[in-house]
Protein backbone atom coordinates (compact mmCIF):
# COMPACT_ATOMS: atom_id res chain seq x y z
CA UNK A 1 0.00 0.00 0.00
CA UNK A 2 1.55 3.27 -1.02
CA UNK A 3 0.50 6.89 -1.13
CA UNK A 4 -0.64 8.62 -4.28
CA UNK A 5 -1.83 5.63 -6.34
CA UNK A 6 -4.56 7.84 -7.82
CA UNK A 7 -2.18 10.57 -9.10
CA UNK A 8 -1.29 8.99 -12.51
CA UNK A 9 -5.02 8.64 -13.29
CA UNK A 10 -5.65 12.25 -12.23
CA UNK A 11 -2.84 13.56 -14.43
CA UNK A 12 -4.07 11.53 -17.40
CA UNK A 13 -7.46 13.18 -17.11
CA UNK A 14 -5.95 16.65 -17.49
CA UNK A 15 -5.52 15.98 -21.19
CA UNK A 16 -8.83 14.27 -21.86
CA UNK A 17 -11.87 15.77 -23.51
CA UNK A 18 -14.80 16.50 -21.18
CA UNK A 19 -17.25 13.64 -20.73
CA UNK A 20 -20.28 15.94 -20.96
CA UNK A 21 -21.72 17.88 -23.91
CA UNK A 22 -22.68 21.53 -24.01
CA UNK A 23 -26.39 20.72 -23.86
CA UNK A 24 -28.61 23.48 -25.27
CA UNK A 25 -26.15 24.11 -28.11
CA UNK A 26 -25.15 20.53 -28.74
CA UNK A 27 -27.64 17.71 -28.49
CA UNK A 28 -27.19 13.98 -28.27
CA UNK A 29 -29.36 11.83 -30.47
CA UNK A 30 -31.96 9.66 -28.82
CA UNK A 31 -31.97 5.91 -29.52
CA UNK A 32 -34.39 4.66 -32.19
CA UNK A 33 -36.52 2.90 -29.55
CA UNK A 34 -36.86 6.04 -27.44
CA UNK A 35 -40.29 6.49 -25.91
CA UNK A 36 -41.40 10.07 -26.41
CA UNK A 37 -45.02 11.20 -26.38
CA UNK A 38 -47.83 9.11 -27.83
CA UNK A 39 -49.80 10.34 -30.83
CA UNK A 40 -52.74 8.96 -32.75
CA UNK A 41 -53.06 8.17 -36.43
CA UNK A 42 -56.83 8.65 -36.68
CA UNK A 43 -57.09 6.99 -40.10
CA UNK A 44 -56.10 3.64 -38.53
CA UNK A 45 -58.00 3.88 -35.26
CA UNK A 46 -60.93 1.51 -34.84
CA UNK A 47 -61.87 3.02 -31.45
CA UNK A 48 -61.51 -0.30 -29.63
CA UNK A 49 -60.38 1.60 -26.52
CA UNK A 50 -57.59 -0.87 -25.70
CA UNK A 51 -55.20 2.02 -25.09
CA UNK A 52 -57.61 3.76 -22.74
CA UNK A 53 -58.11 0.56 -20.77
CA UNK A 54 -54.42 -0.30 -20.41
CA UNK A 55 -52.99 3.17 -19.80
CA UNK A 56 -51.51 3.06 -16.27
CA UNK A 57 -51.69 6.83 -15.84
CA UNK A 58 -55.23 7.25 -17.18
CA UNK A 59 -53.86 9.76 -19.64
CA UNK A 60 -56.01 8.68 -22.59
CA UNK A 61 -59.63 9.68 -22.83
CA UNK A 62 -61.94 8.57 -25.62
CA UNK A 63 -65.47 9.95 -25.83
CA UNK A 64 -68.22 9.41 -28.37
CA UNK A 65 -69.33 12.72 -29.83
CA UNK A 66 -71.83 11.35 -32.36
CA UNK A 67 -73.11 7.81 -32.07
CA UNK A 68 -74.82 7.72 -35.50
CA UNK A 69 -71.88 9.01 -37.52
CA UNK A 70 -69.40 7.06 -35.36
CA UNK A 71 -67.55 10.22 -34.47
CA UNK A 72 -65.03 10.01 -31.68
CA UNK A 73 -62.97 12.43 -29.74
CA UNK A 74 -59.66 11.43 -28.21
CA UNK A 75 -57.63 13.44 -25.73
CA UNK A 76 -54.12 12.49 -24.66
CA UNK A 77 -53.16 14.24 -21.45
CA UNK A 78 -49.43 14.51 -21.87
CA UNK A 79 -49.11 16.08 -18.43
CA UNK A 80 -50.21 12.76 -16.93
CA UNK A 81 -48.43 10.51 -19.43
CA UNK A 82 -45.61 8.43 -17.94
CA UNK A 83 -44.16 7.51 -21.37
CA UNK A 84 -44.34 3.76 -20.92
CA UNK A 85 -45.65 3.06 -24.45
CA UNK A 86 -48.14 0.48 -23.21
CA UNK A 87 -50.74 2.07 -25.53
CA UNK A 88 -48.50 1.30 -28.51
CA UNK A 89 -48.25 -2.34 -27.40
CA UNK A 90 -51.97 -2.61 -26.71
CA UNK A 91 -53.09 -1.08 -30.02
CA UNK A 92 -54.20 -3.80 -32.47
CA UNK A 93 -53.84 -1.60 -35.57
CA UNK A 94 -50.66 0.45 -35.00
CA UNK A 95 -52.75 3.58 -34.69
CA UNK A 96 -50.91 4.65 -31.53
CA UNK A 97 -47.33 5.69 -32.14
CA UNK A 98 -44.54 7.27 -30.13
CA UNK A 99 -42.58 10.27 -31.34
CA UNK A 100 -38.98 10.92 -30.32
CA UNK A 101 -39.23 14.41 -28.88
CA UNK A 102 -37.84 14.94 -25.43
CA UNK A 103 -38.02 18.70 -24.92
CA UNK A 104 -41.72 18.71 -24.17
CA UNK A 105 -41.95 20.76 -21.00
CA UNK A 106 -44.41 23.61 -20.75
CA UNK A 107 -45.34 26.32 -18.29
CA UNK A 108 -48.99 25.32 -18.27
CA UNK A 109 -50.17 21.74 -18.00
CA UNK A 110 -53.27 22.48 -20.04
CA UNK A 111 -51.12 23.27 -23.06
CA UNK A 112 -49.86 19.72 -23.05
CA UNK A 113 -53.22 18.21 -23.97
CA UNK A 114 -53.44 16.75 -27.45
CA UNK A 115 -56.82 16.34 -29.07
CA UNK A 116 -58.15 14.45 -32.09
CA UNK A 117 -61.66 14.42 -33.53
CA UNK A 118 -62.12 11.57 -35.93
CA UNK A 119 -64.57 9.26 -37.61
CA UNK A 120 -64.19 5.61 -36.79
CA UNK A 121 -62.36 3.73 -39.53
CA UNK A 122 -64.51 0.96 -40.96
CA UNK A 123 -61.70 -0.88 -42.76
CA UNK A 124 -60.47 -4.18 -41.38
CA UNK A 125 -57.43 -3.63 -39.16
CA UNK A 126 -55.25 -6.33 -40.79
CA UNK A 127 -55.66 -4.95 -44.32
CA UNK A 128 -54.91 -1.43 -43.21
CA UNK A 129 -51.65 -2.24 -41.43
CA UNK A 130 -50.23 -4.02 -44.47
CA UNK A 131 -50.68 -1.04 -46.77
Amino acid sequence: MKLGVFIPELLRHLFKKPATVDYPFQKLTVPPEFRGSPYLRPELCIACRACERDCPAEAIEITVTNEAEKKFNMVIHNDRCIHCAQCVDSCPTDAMQMDNLFEISDYDRHNMKKRWDFVRAVVKPKAETKS
Binding site: K2, V5, E9, L10, E33, R35, R53, P56
Partner: protein, 400 residues
Protein backbone atom coordinates in the same frame (compact mmCIF):
# COMPACT_ATOMS: atom_id res chain seq x y z
CA UNK B 1 -24.19 12.67 30.35
CA UNK B 2 -25.95 11.69 27.18
CA UNK B 3 -27.64 13.79 24.53
CA UNK B 4 -30.17 12.95 21.89
CA UNK B 5 -29.43 14.25 18.44
CA UNK B 6 -32.01 14.09 15.68
CA UNK B 7 -30.57 13.41 12.24
CA UNK B 8 -33.24 13.90 9.64
CA UNK B 9 -35.95 13.75 8.37
CA UNK B 10 -34.41 16.62 6.44
CA UNK B 11 -30.67 16.58 6.73
CA UNK B 12 -27.79 17.33 4.33
CA UNK B 13 -26.24 13.92 5.01
CA UNK B 14 -29.34 12.04 3.94
CA UNK B 15 -30.54 11.77 0.36
CA UNK B 16 -34.07 10.84 1.28
CA UNK B 17 -36.26 11.68 4.28
CA UNK B 18 -35.69 9.33 7.20
CA UNK B 19 -35.42 10.19 10.89
CA UNK B 20 -32.53 8.82 12.93
CA UNK B 21 -32.53 9.76 16.58
CA UNK B 22 -29.14 8.98 18.09
CA UNK B 23 -28.28 9.06 21.79
CA UNK B 24 -24.67 10.08 22.08
CA UNK B 25 -22.16 9.88 24.86
CA UNK B 26 -19.51 12.37 23.84
CA UNK B 27 -18.90 11.48 20.23
CA UNK B 28 -19.92 7.86 20.48
CA UNK B 29 -23.40 6.67 19.58
CA UNK B 30 -24.95 4.56 22.32
CA UNK B 31 -28.48 4.18 21.02
CA UNK B 32 -30.09 4.72 17.66
CA UNK B 33 -33.75 4.88 16.76
CA UNK B 34 -35.16 4.98 13.25
CA UNK B 35 -38.29 6.91 12.42
CA UNK B 36 -39.90 5.95 9.16
CA UNK B 37 -42.93 7.03 7.25
CA UNK B 38 -41.90 10.36 5.76
CA UNK B 39 -42.04 9.05 2.22
CA UNK B 40 -45.12 6.86 2.27
CA UNK B 41 -46.97 7.04 -1.03
CA UNK B 42 -49.67 4.40 -0.73
CA UNK B 43 -48.40 2.33 -3.63
CA UNK B 44 -49.87 -0.92 -2.34
CA UNK B 45 -53.34 0.55 -2.02
CA UNK B 46 -53.09 2.08 -5.47
CA UNK B 47 -52.03 -1.30 -6.87
CA UNK B 48 -55.32 -2.79 -5.77
CA UNK B 49 -57.15 -0.38 -8.07
CA UNK B 50 -55.13 -1.06 -11.21
CA UNK B 51 -55.15 -3.99 -13.59
CA UNK B 52 -52.32 -6.53 -13.87
CA UNK B 53 -50.86 -4.74 -16.91
CA UNK B 54 -51.06 -1.28 -15.38
CA UNK B 55 -49.39 -2.49 -12.20
CA UNK B 56 -46.14 -3.34 -14.03
CA UNK B 57 -45.54 0.37 -14.52
CA UNK B 58 -46.64 1.22 -11.01
CA UNK B 59 -44.25 -1.36 -9.53
CA UNK B 60 -41.51 0.02 -11.74
CA UNK B 61 -41.99 3.42 -10.16
CA UNK B 62 -41.52 2.20 -6.58
CA UNK B 63 -37.85 2.93 -7.07
CA UNK B 64 -35.76 4.66 -9.71
CA UNK B 65 -32.49 2.80 -9.25
CA UNK B 66 -33.91 -0.71 -8.99
CA UNK B 67 -36.96 -0.15 -11.20
CA UNK B 68 -36.41 -3.39 -13.09
CA UNK B 69 -36.11 -5.37 -9.83
CA UNK B 70 -39.56 -4.50 -8.60
CA UNK B 71 -41.16 -4.91 -12.01
CA UNK B 72 -39.50 -8.29 -12.57
CA UNK B 73 -40.38 -9.53 -9.11
CA UNK B 74 -44.01 -8.56 -9.70
CA UNK B 75 -44.14 -9.99 -13.22
CA UNK B 76 -42.65 -13.30 -12.09
CA UNK B 77 -45.32 -13.60 -9.44
CA UNK B 78 -48.12 -12.75 -11.86
CA UNK B 79 -46.81 -15.28 -14.38
CA UNK B 80 -46.99 -17.94 -11.68
CA UNK B 81 -50.56 -16.85 -10.87
CA UNK B 82 -51.63 -16.93 -14.50
CA UNK B 83 -49.76 -20.22 -15.07
CA UNK B 84 -47.92 -19.04 -18.14
CA UNK B 85 -44.33 -19.79 -19.03
CA UNK B 86 -42.38 -17.02 -20.77
CA UNK B 87 -40.17 -18.15 -23.68
CA UNK B 88 -36.44 -18.71 -23.15
CA UNK B 89 -35.31 -15.71 -25.19
CA UNK B 90 -37.62 -13.43 -23.22
CA UNK B 91 -36.18 -14.68 -19.94
CA UNK B 92 -32.63 -14.21 -21.19
CA UNK B 93 -33.31 -10.60 -22.14
CA UNK B 94 -35.06 -9.98 -18.84
CA UNK B 95 -32.10 -11.33 -16.86
CA UNK B 96 -29.70 -9.42 -19.10
CA UNK B 97 -31.41 -6.15 -18.22
CA UNK B 98 -31.46 -7.08 -14.53
CA UNK B 99 -27.71 -7.73 -14.56
CA UNK B 100 -27.10 -4.44 -16.39
CA UNK B 101 -29.18 -2.79 -13.71
CA UNK B 102 -27.06 -4.42 -11.02
CA UNK B 103 -23.97 -3.01 -12.74
CA UNK B 104 -25.39 0.50 -12.84
CA UNK B 105 -26.64 0.32 -9.25
CA UNK B 106 -23.34 -0.94 -7.89
CA UNK B 107 -21.38 1.69 -9.85
CA UNK B 108 -23.71 4.34 -8.48
CA UNK B 109 -23.19 3.01 -4.95
CA UNK B 110 -19.43 2.95 -5.44
CA UNK B 111 -19.52 6.60 -6.40
CA UNK B 112 -21.69 7.47 -3.40
CA UNK B 113 -19.28 5.58 -1.11
CA UNK B 114 -16.40 7.60 -2.55
CA UNK B 115 -18.36 10.79 -2.01
CA UNK B 116 -19.29 9.94 1.59
CA UNK B 117 -15.69 9.00 2.34
CA UNK B 118 -14.53 12.36 1.00
CA UNK B 119 -12.96 10.95 -2.18
CA UNK B 120 -14.81 13.05 -4.74
CA UNK B 121 -12.64 12.42 -7.78
CA UNK B 122 -13.38 8.71 -7.37
CA UNK B 123 -17.08 9.57 -7.25
CA UNK B 124 -16.90 11.53 -10.49
CA UNK B 125 -14.85 8.95 -12.39
CA UNK B 126 -17.14 6.13 -11.34
CA UNK B 127 -20.22 8.05 -12.33
CA UNK B 128 -18.72 8.91 -15.70
CA UNK B 129 -18.14 5.22 -16.32
CA UNK B 130 -21.65 4.49 -15.17
CA UNK B 131 -22.85 6.45 -18.21
CA UNK B 132 -21.56 3.58 -20.39
CA UNK B 133 -23.99 1.13 -18.84
CA UNK B 134 -26.75 3.73 -18.89
CA UNK B 135 -26.18 4.08 -22.63
CA UNK B 136 -26.44 0.32 -23.05
CA UNK B 137 -29.75 0.30 -21.20
CA UNK B 138 -30.93 3.19 -23.31
CA UNK B 139 -30.18 1.39 -26.56
CA UNK B 140 -31.91 -1.78 -25.37
CA UNK B 141 -35.04 -0.30 -23.86
CA UNK B 142 -35.28 3.28 -25.10
CA UNK B 143 -35.01 5.01 -21.74
CA UNK B 144 -32.29 5.45 -19.16
CA UNK B 145 -34.14 4.87 -15.93
CA UNK B 146 -37.54 3.25 -16.33
CA UNK B 147 -36.74 0.59 -18.89
CA UNK B 148 -40.31 -0.76 -19.13
CA UNK B 149 -38.90 -3.91 -20.72
CA UNK B 150 -41.15 -6.31 -18.82
CA UNK B 151 -44.49 -7.55 -19.97
CA UNK B 152 -46.54 -10.29 -18.41
CA UNK B 153 -45.35 -13.35 -20.32
CA UNK B 154 -42.00 -12.08 -21.56
CA UNK B 155 -40.33 -8.85 -22.56
CA UNK B 156 -41.34 -6.03 -24.88
CA UNK B 157 -38.17 -5.33 -26.85
CA UNK B 158 -35.94 -7.69 -28.79
CA UNK B 159 -32.17 -7.50 -29.23
CA UNK B 160 -30.47 -7.40 -32.63
CA UNK B 161 -26.90 -8.20 -33.67
CA UNK B 162 -25.82 -4.55 -33.66
CA UNK B 163 -26.96 -4.06 -30.07
CA UNK B 164 -25.25 -7.26 -28.92
CA UNK B 165 -22.00 -6.08 -30.48
CA UNK B 166 -22.37 -2.66 -28.85
CA UNK B 167 -22.95 -4.23 -25.42
CA UNK B 168 -19.97 -6.58 -25.74
CA UNK B 169 -17.68 -3.72 -26.81
CA UNK B 170 -18.81 -1.47 -23.94
CA UNK B 171 -18.45 -4.37 -21.51
CA UNK B 172 -14.72 -4.53 -22.21
CA UNK B 173 -14.30 -0.89 -21.17
CA UNK B 174 -16.40 -1.42 -18.04
CA UNK B 175 -14.46 -4.53 -17.05
CA UNK B 176 -11.17 -2.68 -17.43
CA UNK B 177 -12.40 0.25 -15.35
CA UNK B 178 -13.88 -1.97 -12.62
CA UNK B 179 -10.62 -3.88 -12.27
CA UNK B 180 -8.90 -0.55 -11.83
CA UNK B 181 -11.43 0.53 -9.18
CA UNK B 182 -10.97 -2.78 -7.39
CA UNK B 183 -7.25 -2.10 -7.25
CA UNK B 184 -7.82 1.48 -6.16
CA UNK B 185 -10.52 0.70 -3.59
CA UNK B 186 -8.32 -1.82 -1.82
CA UNK B 187 -4.94 -0.06 -2.07
CA UNK B 188 -5.58 3.69 -1.74
CA UNK B 189 -4.41 4.20 1.88
CA UNK B 190 -6.66 7.15 2.82
CA UNK B 191 -9.75 5.55 1.28
CA UNK B 192 -9.12 2.22 3.00
CA UNK B 193 -8.39 3.93 6.32
CA UNK B 194 -11.74 5.72 6.14
CA UNK B 195 -13.76 2.58 5.38
CA UNK B 196 -12.02 -0.17 7.34
CA UNK B 197 -13.59 -1.02 10.68
CA UNK B 198 -16.56 1.34 10.20
CA UNK B 199 -20.02 -0.13 10.77
CA UNK B 200 -19.01 -3.50 12.13
CA UNK B 201 -21.66 -6.20 11.80
CA UNK B 202 -20.63 -9.66 12.92
CA UNK B 203 -21.64 -12.80 11.07
CA UNK B 204 -23.99 -13.92 13.87
CA UNK B 205 -25.66 -10.50 14.08
CA UNK B 206 -26.11 -10.35 10.32
CA UNK B 207 -27.94 -13.69 10.33
CA UNK B 208 -29.92 -12.88 13.44
CA UNK B 209 -31.08 -9.46 12.22
CA UNK B 210 -32.01 -10.84 8.77
CA UNK B 211 -29.73 -8.58 6.78
CA UNK B 212 -29.88 -9.11 3.02
CA UNK B 213 -27.77 -8.52 -0.05
CA UNK B 214 -24.23 -7.13 0.00
CA UNK B 215 -24.62 -6.17 3.69
CA UNK B 216 -25.10 -9.84 4.57
CA UNK B 217 -22.49 -11.13 2.15
CA UNK B 218 -19.89 -8.71 3.47
CA UNK B 219 -20.30 -10.43 6.85
CA UNK B 220 -19.21 -13.70 5.33
CA UNK B 221 -22.60 -15.33 4.68
CA UNK B 222 -22.83 -16.62 1.09
CA UNK B 223 -26.54 -16.05 0.60
CA UNK B 224 -27.93 -15.04 -2.75
CA UNK B 225 -31.41 -15.74 -4.10
CA UNK B 226 -29.92 -16.27 -7.54
CA UNK B 227 -28.01 -19.28 -6.16
CA UNK B 228 -30.27 -20.48 -3.32
CA UNK B 229 -33.60 -20.32 -5.11
CA UNK B 230 -32.80 -19.78 -8.80
CA UNK B 231 -35.52 -17.95 -10.67
CA UNK B 232 -35.78 -17.45 -14.44
CA UNK B 233 -32.62 -18.88 -16.05
CA UNK B 234 -30.12 -18.45 -13.22
CA UNK B 235 -29.79 -22.22 -12.84
CA UNK B 236 -28.13 -22.31 -16.28
CA UNK B 237 -25.82 -19.36 -15.76
CA UNK B 238 -22.42 -19.96 -14.12
CA UNK B 239 -21.47 -17.41 -11.49
CA UNK B 240 -20.08 -17.19 -7.99
CA UNK B 241 -21.56 -15.65 -4.85
CA UNK B 242 -19.10 -12.99 -3.68
CA UNK B 243 -18.41 -12.61 0.02
CA UNK B 244 -16.01 -10.73 2.25
CA UNK B 245 -15.00 -11.45 5.83
CA UNK B 246 -14.13 -7.98 7.11
CA UNK B 247 -17.78 -7.26 8.17
CA UNK B 248 -17.35 -3.49 7.67
CA UNK B 249 -17.95 -0.85 4.99
CA UNK B 250 -14.73 -1.82 3.23
CA UNK B 251 -16.04 -5.38 2.95
CA UNK B 252 -19.29 -4.09 1.46
CA UNK B 253 -17.30 -2.13 -1.11
CA UNK B 254 -15.23 -5.19 -2.01
CA UNK B 255 -18.34 -7.38 -2.32
CA UNK B 256 -19.98 -4.90 -4.67
CA UNK B 257 -16.90 -4.57 -6.89
CA UNK B 258 -16.58 -8.35 -7.04
CA UNK B 259 -20.26 -8.61 -7.95
CA UNK B 260 -19.69 -6.12 -10.75
CA UNK B 261 -17.05 -8.38 -12.27
CA UNK B 262 -19.37 -11.39 -11.85
CA UNK B 263 -22.18 -9.47 -13.54
CA UNK B 264 -19.97 -8.76 -16.58
CA UNK B 265 -19.35 -12.51 -16.88
CA UNK B 266 -23.06 -13.23 -16.62
CA UNK B 267 -23.91 -10.61 -19.26
CA UNK B 268 -21.28 -12.03 -21.61
CA UNK B 269 -22.62 -15.55 -21.06
CA UNK B 270 -26.21 -14.46 -21.70
CA UNK B 271 -25.33 -12.63 -24.89
CA UNK B 272 -23.21 -15.48 -26.28
CA UNK B 273 -25.89 -18.09 -25.51
CA UNK B 274 -28.96 -16.07 -26.44
CA UNK B 275 -31.54 -18.57 -27.77
CA UNK B 276 -33.65 -17.79 -30.82
CA UNK B 277 -37.41 -17.72 -30.81
CA UNK B 278 -40.23 -15.52 -29.61
CA UNK B 279 -39.71 -13.05 -26.77
CA UNK B 280 -43.14 -13.20 -25.19
CA UNK B 281 -46.38 -15.11 -24.98
CA UNK B 282 -49.88 -13.72 -24.75
CA UNK B 283 -51.11 -13.27 -21.21
CA UNK B 284 -54.73 -13.59 -20.09
CA UNK B 285 -56.41 -10.55 -18.59
CA UNK B 286 -57.55 -12.35 -15.45
CA UNK B 287 -55.87 -14.61 -12.92
CA UNK B 288 -57.46 -17.44 -10.95
CA UNK B 289 -57.92 -16.93 -7.20
CA UNK B 290 -54.59 -17.84 -5.67
CA UNK B 291 -51.67 -16.35 -3.83
CA UNK B 292 -47.99 -16.34 -4.64
CA UNK B 293 -44.66 -15.18 -3.26
CA UNK B 294 -42.02 -14.03 -5.68
CA UNK B 295 -38.37 -13.62 -4.72
CA UNK B 296 -35.77 -11.67 -6.63
CA UNK B 297 -32.18 -10.70 -5.92
CA UNK B 298 -32.17 -6.94 -6.41
CA UNK B 299 -28.84 -5.06 -6.36
CA UNK B 300 -29.54 -4.17 -2.73
CA UNK B 301 -30.64 -7.60 -1.59
CA UNK B 302 -33.60 -9.89 -1.58
CA UNK B 303 -36.83 -8.39 -2.81
CA UNK B 304 -40.11 -10.13 -2.01
CA UNK B 305 -43.52 -9.53 -3.53
CA UNK B 306 -46.62 -11.23 -2.18
CA UNK B 307 -49.51 -11.20 -4.63
CA UNK B 308 -53.04 -12.39 -4.01
CA UNK B 309 -55.62 -12.61 -6.75
CA UNK B 310 -59.35 -13.07 -6.49
CA UNK B 311 -60.24 -14.01 -10.04
CA UNK B 312 -60.65 -10.48 -11.34
CA UNK B 313 -58.27 -8.43 -13.48
CA UNK B 314 -56.91 -6.64 -10.43
CA UNK B 315 -54.81 -7.93 -7.53
CA UNK B 316 -56.59 -8.23 -4.21
CA UNK B 317 -53.42 -7.62 -2.23
CA UNK B 318 -49.91 -6.72 -3.25
CA UNK B 319 -47.28 -6.60 -0.56
CA UNK B 320 -43.78 -5.38 -1.31
CA UNK B 321 -40.88 -6.14 1.02
CA UNK B 322 -37.99 -4.06 -0.27
CA UNK B 323 -34.40 -5.03 0.66
CA UNK B 324 -33.79 -1.78 2.56
CA UNK B 325 -36.51 -2.65 5.07
CA UNK B 326 -34.72 -5.89 5.92
CA UNK B 327 -31.48 -4.01 6.45
CA UNK B 328 -32.81 -1.40 8.89
CA UNK B 329 -32.40 -3.62 11.96
CA UNK B 330 -28.81 -4.34 11.01
CA UNK B 331 -28.18 -0.63 10.46
CA UNK B 332 -29.12 0.19 14.04
CA UNK B 333 -26.71 -2.48 15.22
CA UNK B 334 -23.99 -1.00 13.00
CA UNK B 335 -24.60 2.55 14.23
CA UNK B 336 -24.23 1.58 17.90
CA UNK B 337 -20.81 2.26 19.39
CA UNK B 338 -19.74 4.13 16.27
CA UNK B 339 -18.95 7.79 15.78
CA UNK B 340 -21.41 10.49 14.75
CA UNK B 341 -19.19 11.25 11.76
CA UNK B 342 -19.73 7.70 10.50
CA UNK B 343 -23.53 7.94 10.35
CA UNK B 344 -23.73 9.00 6.67
CA UNK B 345 -21.16 6.40 5.66
CA UNK B 346 -22.84 3.53 7.51
CA UNK B 347 -26.20 4.59 6.16
CA UNK B 348 -24.89 4.82 2.62
CA UNK B 349 -23.26 1.39 2.99
CA UNK B 350 -26.59 -0.44 3.05
CA UNK B 351 -27.47 1.48 -0.13
CA UNK B 352 -30.71 2.74 1.39
CA UNK B 353 -33.74 3.38 -0.74
CA UNK B 354 -36.17 4.96 1.67
CA UNK B 355 -39.09 5.26 -0.71
CA UNK B 356 -38.76 1.53 -1.57
CA UNK B 357 -39.16 0.60 2.05
CA UNK B 358 -41.98 2.96 3.04
CA UNK B 359 -44.87 0.59 2.83
CA UNK B 360 -47.12 0.78 5.84
CA UNK B 361 -47.82 2.98 8.83
CA UNK B 362 -47.85 1.75 12.43
CA UNK B 363 -49.87 3.52 15.09
CA UNK B 364 -47.62 3.94 18.11
CA UNK B 365 -48.85 5.45 21.36
CA UNK B 366 -46.49 8.29 22.24
CA UNK B 367 -46.78 7.74 25.99
CA UNK B 368 -46.70 3.97 26.34
CA UNK B 369 -44.80 3.25 23.09
CA UNK B 370 -47.25 0.46 22.31
CA UNK B 371 -48.29 -0.40 18.80
CA UNK B 372 -51.88 -1.11 17.97
CA UNK B 373 -54.04 -1.85 15.01
CA UNK B 374 -56.90 0.55 14.37
CA UNK B 375 -59.67 0.55 11.84
CA UNK B 376 -60.06 3.28 9.27
CA UNK B 377 -63.19 4.66 10.96
CA UNK B 378 -61.60 4.92 14.40
CA UNK B 379 -58.54 6.56 12.82
CA UNK B 380 -60.88 9.10 11.28
CA UNK B 381 -62.58 9.73 14.61
CA UNK B 382 -59.18 10.16 16.20
CA UNK B 383 -58.16 12.73 13.61
CA UNK B 384 -61.44 14.63 14.03
CA UNK B 385 -61.00 14.63 17.79
CA UNK B 386 -57.43 15.90 17.52
CA UNK B 387 -58.28 18.57 14.99
CA UNK B 388 -61.44 19.80 16.75
CA UNK B 389 -59.79 22.49 18.83
CA UNK B 390 -57.50 23.72 16.12
CA UNK B 391 -58.51 26.83 14.25
CA UNK B 392 -59.09 26.39 10.59
CA UNK B 393 -56.70 28.12 8.31
CA UNK B 394 -59.22 29.79 6.07
CA UNK B 395 -56.67 31.82 4.18
CA UNK B 396 -54.55 28.81 3.37
CA UNK B 397 -54.50 28.00 -0.33
CA UNK B 398 -53.97 24.68 -1.97
CA UNK B 399 -50.68 24.83 -3.87
CA UNK B 400 -52.36 24.00 -7.17
Amino acid sequence: MSFQIPIGPQHPALKEPIGVRVTVDGEIIREADLRLGYNHRGVEKLAEQKTWTQNIYLMERICGICSHSHATCYVQGVEKLMEIEPPKRGLYIRILVSELERVHSHLLWLGVAGHEAGFDSFFMYVWRDREIVMDILETISGNRVHYAINAIGGVRRDLDELQIKHILDSLEVLRQRSTYYQKLGTTEPSFVARLAGVGYLSREDAIELCAVGPTLRASGVPMDVRKDDPYAVYDEVPFEVCTADSCDVLGRTVVRIKELLQSYNIIEFLLKNLPTGPISVRAPRRAKPNEVISRYEAPRGENIHYIKSNGSDKPERLKVRAPTLANYAATIKMLKNGFIADVPLIFAAIDPCICCAERSVAIVDARTAQERIVTMSSLRELSLKTAKHQTRKREAEWPL
